[in-house]
């Protein structure tokens, strides 16, 4: 396990050193992250990176394949546009956690802010606590599990993201509906929560069958078909 301190180093130097160590096959522990922005951006090597403290904006953004653990909280845009890999934050995450991810898994072991999973295209997001306003907005694919409560406008304007909420939903967003869960959904929830969360956390979560499933009602997917002919002519 290689150790690296952020003290006295620029972000560019820190990220370059993390990449070099990962390339050498080392697991990396990064101390004194000091909630600085853009830590662990565009890590494209497989391996493990531990940030020993809180991180700022866009931590682990644009990654592909690496496993990142944050022993603290994270700022905005955590793991944004991740292609694959795993990001676990032991504290809370700010707004737009998991924005536009195309794969991989993001696990927030506390609460997450507004627009969690906004524009996510694929992958998995798990929040053990609650999520903020407009989470799931314009979700295109993948799955999002909120073990606690979901704030207003949840799942607004989604395409094919499937969301599960263990607690209360303050308000569904435009075109979001609660759908009936299947046995397959329950199995998926149990398997995902067991895989990514400590047993002590899982023990206090709702049973898989008690999660509400939220999907798109698909009414915003298209303007009404009857109007298409009009558009075609309406030039």
């Amino acid at each position: 396990m290689a150790k690296l301190t952020c003290e006295g180093r620029t972000i560019r130097e820190i990220n370059a050193e993390i990449r070099r160590l990962l390339k050498d096959g080392e697991a990396v522990t990064v101390s004194s992250p000091g909630a600085r922005h853009n830590l662990g951006v565009a890590l494209l090597e497989s391996g493990d990176v531990l940030f020993d403290g809180s991180v700022g904006y866009y931590c682990a953004g644009l990654i592909d394949g690496v496993k990142v653990r944050i022993k603290g909280s994270a700022g905005w845009g955590l793991a944004e546009s991740m292609l694959s890999g795993e990001v676990i934050v032991e504290g809370n995450a700010g707004n737009s956690a998991g924005a536009a991810i195309r794969g991989g898994a993001l696990v927030v072991q506390g609460d997450s802010g507004a627009r969690t999973g906004v524009s996510m295209k694929n992958g998995l997001i798990i929040v053990t606590g609650s999520c903020g306003y407009m989470s799931g907005f314009m979700g295109q694919g993948g799955k999002m599990i909120i073990c606690g409560d979901a704030a207003e406008a949840f799942g607004d304007s989604m395409y094919e993201t499937i969301c599960f909420v263990g607690g209360e939903i303050a308000d569904l967003g435009n075109d979001a509906i609660v759908a009936e869960s299947t046995d397959e959904d329950k199995q998926f929830l149990d398997a995902s929560l067991t895989r990514y969360l400590p047993a002590s956390v899982c023990a206090n979560l709702p049973d898989g069958g008690d999660f509400k499933k939220v999907v798109s009602d698909r009414k915003l997917w298209n303007f009404k078909k009857s109007e298409w002919k009009t558009w075609e002519q309406a030039l």
Binding site: N38, Y58, L83, F137, E232, Q233
Partner: protein, 442 residues
Amino acid sequence: MSESSSTPRVLQKSGIFSSSVIEDIQTKAESGIYRIRGYGTLRERRWATFDDLTFLPCSLTRIPLEGYREKCSTKTVLGSRFAEKPIELDIPVMITGMSWGALSYNAKVALAKGASEIGSSNTTGDGGMMAAERENSKTLIYEVLPSRYGINVHHMRMSDGIELTIGQGAKPGTGGLLLETKVSDEISKQRELPVGVDQRSPARHPDMLGPDDMIIKIEELREATGWQVPIFVKLGASRVYDDVKLAAKAGADMVVVDGMEGGTGASPAIFQDHTGIPTLAAVCEARAALEDMGLYGKVQLIIAGGIRDGVDAAKAMALGADAIYIGTAALIALNCNRPLYVDDYHKLGTEPHFCHHCHTGQCPVGVTTQDPELMKRLPIDEAAERVTNLLRAMTLEIQMLARSCGKSDVHHLEPEDMAALTPEASAICKVPLAGTRRVWGS
């Protein structure tokens, strides 16, 4: 003789409720939805444009260069502020971002090949990078848009520049549209959307809101690309002076300002016709912003929005642009609105030279379609040659005007090389009104 046969019949049209207004109201009364179309503004009422300026070539007070012979450099370097590998182009005219989805595969590849042949650049668009686009582009700019469709860090790292798009001239303040006929199997896969949806792109980036966030976002993009390539920030022209200042402060290497004459594949018509400010005004505000920050010449300025030829480009450069983006003009070079397959224009209810039906996906000449049969009408190599030719002709036009003004480098054109033909253009551009020695309003 009856009264009706002796009095000429006079039809008096309303100046408010014109034929097009009546048609618009009645169409919306049927559909219950705003009008959607492509191409760009169709407004007939004039505003100040580059046509309101004229060049003042040399005579006795200045000495011209030989128009057809002497060297006049067109080399264009962009992004030397922070990037380790600035973009070097042979000409100052570049191809703007237009998506695979809005455009056909053949059109995208033809633009890439055509631009590369003459040492210009090409830009990706919503939906990300096509492999064939990268293969055929000598210089390729990767757009990072609010939708993040197809976002891929590996593709970013294969690019020669990153363009963080905040807005677009045709529709500042809102996202674009890609209607169901164009969300084909391939496009759906590329954008990770259900086949056949009416895709409406978001207006805001998912993980940043204001200019303070953008400072951090730009640093992230530099980290992702190893600080090698320049970062552009693209703005739809609205509050240009303040927006350009904020983009430059946030660390952009170049700022792109896209005026209201800019084109689009599909957008609400009201945005195309009633939002943003004209390109002429935008370039003047952008230059003033950079000058006031002491960054003019350090942060490069790229101007877009309805640029038709080398004359528009030269005037924009004289007013302060370092380089020019073209979009619609390049599509017209591909064959847009050419009188071919005229029956298919008629099926769309239009005629060649009047077509703005990009949103239907039924482009008669294979430019803005995903229909494989229509796309075959645009052979890539022939289309690429036309793009090269247009870029070459535009560059020659810029050079001719520059030489006539005594410049050995097209980037040496300056406001003093022009006069205004209208008081409005004089006031906007701060150049004297022709026939006077006075800048209007000063």
